[in-house]
């Protein structure tokens, strides 16, 4: 989609099937918080069964975008289809797993008690007791917290608590997993383990993952990237394609290159204004 400057970009996609298997499709997506427009007319897709990285500096609107997809963000405009339904549709609630940036678990419950409760919300009733137990055990194993299952969440380290939060999101085997900076503040070994888990979940369970990060070196671990800056999508492509097109060694350099190019264009009156609705009309330049 990057290589076309017009709104007709979609028709130039190599495989029309890619559109059918998009887990998330946004058109002219906007979000307003207070007086501020946080998302400025975004168009993008998140392909099904893959890991899409949402990268950009802090405060660029990643969390707002994720909340819009999950359906917890107020004042969202434009079109946003999630798993074939409009975002926020009640039937989506059991199909999406969402992990907020700060771990949202009960500090005064143990890891297992936390998971038991959220499992009871997802699979209520006596008849599903077996399903609940299986789901809880699997989630604990997934995030490698079996040795801490009976510890109070509040007593765990920051990284362990965020893994509890992730385990809660894994409980219902969601089709779409939205993870807001899941690896922030983790040591390199844990980060690698978590990324392995994400890949395993995508490969084995066919889950679509949307993972945000402000650390660019995580970009290389994703199948596909959405680069974001100041409420706009700068680029949407695979890591290899981004590096190649911008002629850079890393995604980080490609990102900086794109930012500089956008800034330069904004300085020239002839260029389209970035806030004018179709942000990606402004960077056809890197095309070779």
């Amino acid at each position: 989609m990057m290589n076309s400057p017009t709104g007709a970009a979609r028709s130039t996609e190599p495989a029309p099937a890619a559109h059918d298997t998009a887990a998330v499709t946004a058109q002219a997506l906007t979000a307003v918080r207070g007086e501020r427009t946080v998302l400025r007319g975004l168009d993008f897709t998140v392909p099904s069964g893959r890991i899409t990285g949402l990268l950009g500096p802090s405060g660029c609107g990643k969390t707002t975008l994720m909340r819009a997809i999950v359906g917890t963000q107020a004042k969202v405009g434009g079109t946003l289809q999630v798993l074939g339904r409009p975002a926020g549709d009640p039937t989506l609630r059991s199909r999406i797993g969402y992990v907020t940036q700060d771990p949202s678990v009960y500090d005064d419950l143990t890891v297992r008690q936390n998971l038991d409760y959220f499992a009871a919300v997802l699979f209520p009733g006596r008849a599903l007791r077996h399903d609940r137990r299986t789901a809880v055990e699997r989630a604990i194993t997934d995030v490698d917290l079996a040795s801490h299952a009976d510890a109070l969440a509040g007593r765990l380290s920051g990284g362990q608590r965020s893994r509890v939060s992730l385990a809660v999101a894994l409980l219902g085997t969601p089709e779409l997993l939205v993870l807001d900076e899941p690896t922030v503040g983790l040591d390199p070994v844990l980060r690698r383990d978590l990324w392995n888990l994400f890949h395993q979940i995508a490969a084995d369970r066919g889950t679509t993952l949307l993972v945000s990060s402000h650390v660019m070196d995580e970009a290389e671990r994703c199948h596909r990237l959405l680069l974001m800056r100041e409420g706009e999508i700068l680029a949407e492509d695979t890591p290899e394609a981004l590096r190649r097109r911008n002629d850079t060694a890393t995604v980080e350099e490609a990102f900086l290159h794109l930012v500089d190019a956008a800034a330069a264009r904004a300085a020239h009156p002839g260029a389209a204004h970035p806030g004018a609705g179709h942000p990606r009309t402004t960077h056809e330049e890197p095309r070779s």
Partner: protein, 245 residues
């Protein structure tokens, strides 16, 4: 509304409390201690203890549950668990009923202890059935839970939540007839006290204190308190938004 989800929520709230035995002890023992103190403050005038003691049996559960619920739901809001729950297939009514059930159960224990202590050990002279005292106490507790839930939506921090206690509870305390009969207040204040739920909570307790049978006034009082609790719970549910800025 889903019964299993409601019960799971109530069990979760109680499980959280179980990890905090000090709070449970404070909730259950402080009202008993106050009654005990009061009994000997009015050592020379048992009639006054009857009046104030019965009123307090209605007021304690309201205040305790107000405080506990407003802090607990505020924590739910600030910790992100509320947002997580509302993004899951949980009905707002399930959440609220779960809280009401858990704290209602606690209120039953608290009221049983306080009523039992007052009636059997401190010589509170009740003409009517102690069961009716318990019923009013339970309704008061539900009202306190409802008010706490509602108010927590307007508090940005625990600090503010605690400050809502004097703002919401104290005016009712002054006007409910505890200090002076309501019909002897300035007419404007009496009119205000007519629309405050705590006035009916206290009046209900006094009906049981004085009359051996269930009076019409008692039924009215119980219905008003229950109705207010349901109304405020519904208002509280309206403050739970699935989509927030």
């Amino acid at each position: 509304m889903n019964g299993a989800r409601t019960l799971a929520t109530a069990a979760r709230v109680l499980r959280q409390l179980r990890h905090d035995p000090r709070s449970i002890a404070l909730m259950l023992l402080v009202p008993c201690l106050m009654l005990f103190l009061l009994r000997y403050v009015f050592d020379g005038s048992p009639g006054t203890f009857d009046n104030i003691g019965a009123s307090l049996l209605g007021i304690f559960p309201l205040i305790t549950m107000f405080l506990v619920t407003s802090i607990a739901t505020l924590r739910e809001r600030t910790s992100g668990t509320l947002e997580r729950l509302l993004a899951m297939p949980l009905g707002k009514a399930d959440l609220i009923a779960g809280y009401a059930l858990a704290f209602g159960l606690l209120a039953v224990i608290q009221s049983t202890l306080a009523t039992g202590l007052a009636v059997w050990f401190l010589g509170l002279d009740v003409v009517g059935s102690p069961w009716l005292l318990l019923l009013v106490a339970l309704l008061d507790a539900l009202l306190g839970t409802a008010l706490g839930l509602f108010v927590s939506a307007f508090a940005a921090s625990e600090f503010q939540a605690v400050q809502f206690m004097p703002a919401v509870i104290f005016p009712q305390l002054l006007l409910c007839g505890l200090f002076t009969p309501r019909d002897r207040m300035a007419p404007a204040l009496e009119a205000i006290s007519d629309v405050l739920p705590m006035s009916y909570a206290v009046d209900g307790m006094n009906q049981v204190l004085r009359h051996p049978e269930i009076t019409g006034d008692f039924v009215r009082d119980a219905l008003v308190v229950a109705g207010c609790a349901v109304l405020v719970l519904a208002l509280g549910a309206a403050t739970l938004r699935r989509r927030t800025a």
